[in-house]
Symmetry: D2
Subunit: 260 residues, 4 copies
């Protein structure tokens, strides 16, 4: 059965900057989506910041197994209510794959609770992503490392919680290192952060990068849909409660996370 | 040197409900604060929802090593800007101890990224908190378990990320279990969630509960203050970069997490 | 494609104790194996302590995706060389499911590095295993909890490293709790510890228990076979090394973990 | 109060290889011990492979808060019974700091359960250890990174379980990366692996390296001594057990981990 993947792209640089337009005339999401579709394993939906509801309606999200996210210069324009909606779907079980500069997106920072800051530099240096998890489904078909001839540098300290599993660590020609592939589990959802993807290098044409994105879209996809919004009141104990001689009273009220 | 602890209390039930008023006439924060102060190891500041800026001014937070948080019926009234401020202080290195119904507070859910929902029931049942980490500083002086004769039940599944360290697991008379003591590290800060603390039982007069709160206030306190807001641009590589024959250009802009 | 499961049983209690013989005349491994085989998803091999090489020859292990382990009174009779062999297969990628009193087996303690001790009591008390990971493949088809009417009690503190993922926590009628379902990753292998399984209660006839065993056998099974025994010498750097003006010499020798 | 540190050195290369003898005429342990002693914070004991009982008698270990371990060419000569003894002390609460080629020591592999293999190369290349945990006590006084001009390379994949906390990641001039500072908790003990330390480079004269060793010796030291060898029988339930109508019998025997 095909994995339903929605690829969200800010889709601004491709319209305003010649270097990016040349590389990705129809947007990075189109290139990624076409590559995934070609494998025959995915049903692809494209979504962008300037679409109504950013292309992420309730219906689209309900039909998404894994959401891929790329953003950079317009993180601040993503509406809080859409971020809320995506967050709840991830907590229910939807996968989330965050690419490159998506580290600073509202949804990624929302899911992790940290600032997700990092060092950066753009001098077209060489990067080598070392595979630390050779038996993980995300690295299937990837050998010891991925080498990218020209990339933007991202350096530690990357302000993220300790990942549930560290998949890739990058070496940079200029002297830095970076946790470039990180798995996080939140609620019932799986999240994968993957570093490569700068808009001015042809990163999303690299076969190994595309393979990792495809693998992670499959691995993050799950069939469960379990809401965690409510705090269910369970007045009936499963076991008999001994009688107590105290008087007590409730100050509590049943609560729902989405009303807080 | 004394650990500087600020104890934040919603401080509403104590004013509106007789059962609570009787137990905590000056508020739960006062009782906890007095107990901590008596040890001689702490400087205590009290803060409440209805204080200006909820009692959590920049100055107060700058002088807080660990912030203790109790809230229940008015989570929604806590201003987003104060939550932002507390979050940044935690990421900088301030400790955060969240008590009982604080599981649904904005600040706890913000730090963890999940809904933090759980099952609950109020029938004054017995609880036994088993100590899973006998060598952790938070359980110093606590034996195999803490027994509380009458408590509100909190049951799994508790919607939290996998804790960095699980300290207590509760057994409830009515048949449930709960991860009652959980350590999380976020940014440069340490967070401890501790389950006991219902407003209608005299939980905050229990010596073992107070001991755990004191221990955790010390353990979460750190001297570092390291902001993680900026994504520093590091244009000068540490190593020599090989010359490349490609033309590239930057679409990037220096970014700061607090402007996103 | 069927998952190849080898079920290892100490197979002594069934021969020497009437109560056990009555429940499991051909051994617990036979009952588990039959149940798994009935699903059509598995190829089952049975192995026992008194078989030559404990039934775990190189060939058997090479053809095993997941090994299930039950032992109790004769842990000390398992030969070190067979433990070595199983350990290396797990590190290569074979799954390992350890049941109940297998917590004290050589292989489990070898994989974890801790004593794996726990509290215990046999008074036929009720146990409820709460599902903390409702979206994990191991709990597929299991609801909120599994209830067992009569079990041996295992209580904390369970001396194990922090699990990579905590799946079940048990509540016991007598007042204790236990981490009853724990995932560990070691080398390229996945390990699942599952508490139920006492020999004098009909635990391995319980449908939910069998479902969890089946799920975990699938989840732990992987196709990779990656040895981690060698420390490969890589004399040729991937990048050019700057010339240094120091004289240095190697005291090192190429090493292999299995010779240490 | 001074932290009691025992520094264990294989102490062979220093006797047989001129390059090493010249650097460390009285052994690496002497140089590290003197540096630690100079701070006034430690009581130092030196121990070596060729001492009776490898210098690690019951008495020495009973008086050790943290044990530092360096070994390389003679891992196989360390007696199993001494490894058993050290393992039990770590599980009781003694700290363990493993340096460099100690990755292949029996005690480190015993504590972790994996082969601890890695890539290596000796061409005197530059290493930069990036600090991923700026608020952790182990990195106190260390800035963003430690730079070592000439080192042996250790490269991923390092066959270790996911560390409880990742402290340093190394960049190597030749193109590799490595998890160079890793915290593990096992039983009641804390373990720190620290990569630097080759015998033919003057690594243990580097002030930052010595600072990290001193910090980790303090952080791993704990006052608790809690044995985890026994599986305590607790025949008396804490709660009343409902009467059942089944007959059951015990096949169990009280067990102790050190007899298995």
């Amino acid at each position: 059965m095909a994995t339903k993947v929605t690829i969200w792209n800010e889709f601004r640089h491709e319209k305003t900057k010649d270097a990016v337009k040349k590389l990705y005339p129809e947007g990075m999401h189109k290139v990624i989506g076409d590559a995934l579709a070609k494998t025959g394993d995915f049903e692809i939906t494209l979504a962008a910041l300037d679409d109504p509801e950013h292309g992420l309606t309730e219906e689209v999200l309900a039909n998404t197994d894994t959401l891929v996210w790329w953003g950079h210069c317009a993180h601040g324009e993503v509406k809080e209510e859409i971020v809320d909606r995506v967050q709840q779907r991830v907590l229910e079980g939807m996968g989330l794959v965050v690419l490159h500069s998506g580290h600073f997106s509202k949804i990624f920072r929302r899911m992790l609770g940290t600032n997700c800051s990092l060092k950066w530099r753009e001098v077209a240096e060489r990067e080598r992503l070392w595979n630390l998890a050779p038996s993980h489904p995300i690295t299937e078909g990837i050998g010891e490392y991925i080498e990218l001839p020209n990339t933007e540098m991202y350096g530690e300290r990357f302000d993220i919680p300790e990942p549930d599993k560290l998949i890739f660590v990058s070496w940079f020609e200029g002297g830095e290192v970076f946790r470039s592939g990180c798995v996080f589990e939140r609620g019932n959802g799986r999240i994968f952060y993957f570093r490569p993807g700068h808009e001015t290098y042809p990163i999303f044409y690299n076969e190994q990068v595309l393979k990792v994105i495809a693998n992670s879209c499959k691995w993050c996809a799950q069939t469960v849909k379990i809401s965690t919004v409510n705090a269910p009141h369970c007045p009936e104990p499963l076991e008999k409660i001994e009688e107590k001689d105290i008087v007590f009273g409730s100050a509590g009220i049943s609560q729902t996370a989405d009303k807080l």
